[in-house]
Symmetry: C2
Subunit: 440 residues, 2 copies
Amino acid sequence: MDETEKIRVGIVGFGTVGAGVVECLQNNGATIARRAGVRPVVQRIADLDITSDRGVTVPDDVLTTDVGQVLTGEDIDIVVELVGGTNVAKDCIMRALQHGKPVVTANKALLAEHGEEIFEAAEASSADVFYEASVGGGIPIIKAMREGLIANRFSEIVGILNGTCNYILTKMEKEGATFEEVLYAAQAAGYAEADPSVDVDGHDAAHKATILSSLAYGEWFGLDPVYVEGIRGLELEDLRNAANLGYRIKLLAIIKQHDNDVQMRVHPALINASSLVAHVNDVYNAVWIEGDTVGGTMYYGQGAGSRPTASAVTADIVDVALNFKLGSHGRIPAFRPHAGYARILPMEEVHSRYYLRLQVKNAPGVLARISTVLGEKQISIASLTQEEATHPSASLIILTHAAPEGNMQNALQALHQLDEVLQKPVMLRIEDLSADPQAN
Amino acid sequence: MDETEKIRVGIVGFGTVGAGVVECLQNNGATIARRAGVRPVVQRIADLDITSDRGVTVPDDVLTTDVGQVLTGEDIDIVVELVGGTNVAKDCIMRALQHGKPVVTANKALLAEHGEEIFEAAEASSADVFYEASVGGGIPIIKAMREGLIANRFSEIVGILNGTCNYILTKMEKEGATFEEVLYAAQAAGYAEADPSVDVDGHDAAHKATILSSLAYGEWFGLDPVYVEGIRGLELEDLRNAANLGYRIKLLAIIKQHDNDVQMRVHPALINASSLVAHVNDVYNAVWIEGDTVGGTMYYGQGAGSRPTASAVTADIVDVALNFKLGSHGRIPAFRPHAGYARILPMEEVHSRYYLRLQVKNAPGVLARISTVLGEKQISIASLTQEEATHPSASLIILTHAAPEGNMQNALQALHQLDEVLQKPVMLRIEDLSADPQAN
C-alpha cells in the first residue's frame, strides 16, 4: 500500500474535540500513516467562529464559515460532525450522506434520537457512518462490542458512562461533601455544565446506554425503553451507609438479557466495593461486558475531554479512510439489525436487591409494621440495621433479597403511608455483576 | 449484503480451543451472520486424533487426519491454526499462506519467534494473518491497540498477561500458601501444566509482551530484547510485606517508551494496591495502556480457556471473512513496520523504585553499613522498616527512590558480601503507573 495516500477530512464544528482531532493529526499523523497505510489530512474546518484561538494552528484556507464546503465539497472525502446537539448536526450529517460522504460523529444524543433515519440515509448512499466517540470517550468500546466480541451473546452490560456524575459521586465519597456542594464546585471549575441536567439527571448515560444495547441486541431502540434516574438528590448519608455495608454507589447504565427479555436502565446503584467497576473513580468511564463466549470483560478510560474523544474520532477516520481506499465501505455498517430478543422487560418486572433507608418513630412495634408491609409485598429482608436511637426518630437500613421493582414500588407507597415512617423512604437498587469474580 | 454468504473455515488442531470455536459457531453462528453479513461455517477439522470426544458434535465428513485437506483444500477459505508449538504450527501456516489461504492463529510463541517470516509470507501471498487470541485470551486487545488506539503513541503498556501466574499469586496472597503448594494444587486440578516453566518463569508473558510492544513501536522485536524473570521462588513473606506497605505483587509485562528509548520486561513487581491493575485477580488478565491522545485505559478479561480464546479466534475469522468477501485483504496487515523509537533501553539503564528485604545480624552499626553501600551506588532510601528483633537476626525492609537497575545490581552484590547480611538479599521492583488516577 502507498502510505502517502491522503484522505481529505472535513470537520464541522471547531470546538474542543475538533481542536483535539487537528492536534492529534498534526502530532501523530505521520505515525498513523505508517501504521494504517493511509494518511488523513484536515482539508477544511467549518465553524461560525473561525477566529478564536483553539490552541492549534491551521492554515487560513482550511477554515471556513461555509459549512457547505465541508458537507458537499468536491475535495472532501470524509465528513466529521462535531457540532453537537440534534438539529444542525442532523442536517449536516444528512446532507453529507446525501452527497455520498462517509461520516464520523461523536453525537450520542443525535444517534439515540435519530439513529435509524441516519443509518437509512447511510445505507441509501452506501456511505460509512462511524461513531466510536459517542460512548465511553476514548475507550474503543464500540469496536470491542461489535467487532472484537462479535462471537458473543451479551447477557450483561454495566457501564459507568457519565464522567460528570462519576466525578461528583467520587468527590462526595472522598470529601464528604454534598451533591450540591460538589456540583457547584465542578461548575465553577468548568467540569460541569451550567445546566447540568443532561449529565446529573442521567440523560447522557441513557443516550449511551441505548447505543450499547442496540448494538448488543440488534434493534435501534431509541430512548423510550430506557428507564432513567439521575443522581440529583443522592444523600451523603446513603453513600456512607453503602460504604459501611461493603458497597459503593455509582450511576450505572444496566443492560441485560435474560430469557429473551431485554432491560435497559440508568440509575444510581449500590455495587460490591470489591468489584472492579466499584474502583472506577473521578471522570473515568468503564463498561463491564459479559458475553456467553468470552465471560466477563471490562474496558476503562476517560469518557470525555478533547484528547480522549479525539483518539476515538481519529480511529474512526482511519477506519473510514481504509474503506474509502479499498472500496470496502459498509464492511462494518453503521447499524445492522439482528434482533435476538423477545421483549423489553417493563421496569416493574425488573428484579433487584434493594437498599432501603427509613426514618421511623423510635417506638415499640415499628419494626413489626414495616416487616409486615414488606412481607405483604413479597419482599424478603436480608439484613436490617437500626442505628442506636437517642432521639424520638431512628434510621433503619434494610437490605432486601431480590424482588420485582413493582413490588418494591408498592411497598414504598405503603411504607410512606405508615404513621411510623416519618419521611419519604430512600430506596436504591443493588446491582450484582454475576460474572465478576472480584465481586462474588 | 447477503448474510447467507458462507465462508468455509478449516481448523488444524481439534483441542480445547478448536472445540470452543466449533461450539461458538454452532451456538451463535446465526447471530454472528446477522451481525456481520457473512457466515463462517466449519468445513473441515484436521487432527491426528479424530475419535476422542471433545464435547461437540461435528459431521463425520468434517473430520480428517489429512492436514493437507485444510491447508490446501479447494473448499477452504480460511485456515485456523490451533496446533500450538512452533514447529508443526509454523509449517501449517506457511503452507496455508503459500496456497493463498488467510490464516487465523492463537500461537503467541510462534509469532514471537517467527513472526517476521510469517508476515513476509502473508504479504507475498496477499493473505490476511490475524492473531487476536495470542495476547489476553478473549480480551480484544490487539484490535484495541492497532485499530481503536491507532491515533496514539504509547508511553506505557503494563499487562498481567499470564493467568497461571496471576492465579498462583492470588492464591498465595489469599490463602497464605507457598508458591510450591499453590503450584502443586493447580497442577493436580489441571490449571497448570505438568511442566510449568513456560508460565511461571515468565516466558509466556514475554511472548505476549513482545507482540504488544511490536505493535506499539512498529518493529517486530522477537524475544531477545525482553528481560524475563518469573515468579518461581517468590516468598510469602514478601507478599505480606508488600501488602503491609500498600502494594500487591503481580507478574507484570512492562513496556515503555521514554525519550525514544523502548524498554520491555517481564518480572514480578509491587504495584500500588489502590491501582486498578492491582485488583485483577485469579486467572484474569488485564492490559493497562497509556496513549498520548487517549490517556490511561485498561482492558480486562479471561486470558485463556476454551471459550474466551474461541471468542477472539471467531472475531478474527469474521474479520478475515469480511475481507475475503469484500476483497479488502491486507486492510489491517498482519504487521506493518512503523518504527518510532531510537533504541532498546538496556536493562541496567531501566529506572525503578525498589523493595529490598535483607536478613541482617541484629548488631550495632548494621544500618550504617547498609545505607553506606546504597549511598555509594547512588541509591536513595525512601523508607526503612526493621521488624522487632528478638533473635540474633533481623529483617530489614527498604523501599528506595528510583535508581537505575545497574546501580541496584551492583548494590545487591555489595550487600550480599557484607558479613552483616546473612542471606542473599531479596529485591523486587516497584512499578508506578503514571497515568492511573487511582494509584497516585
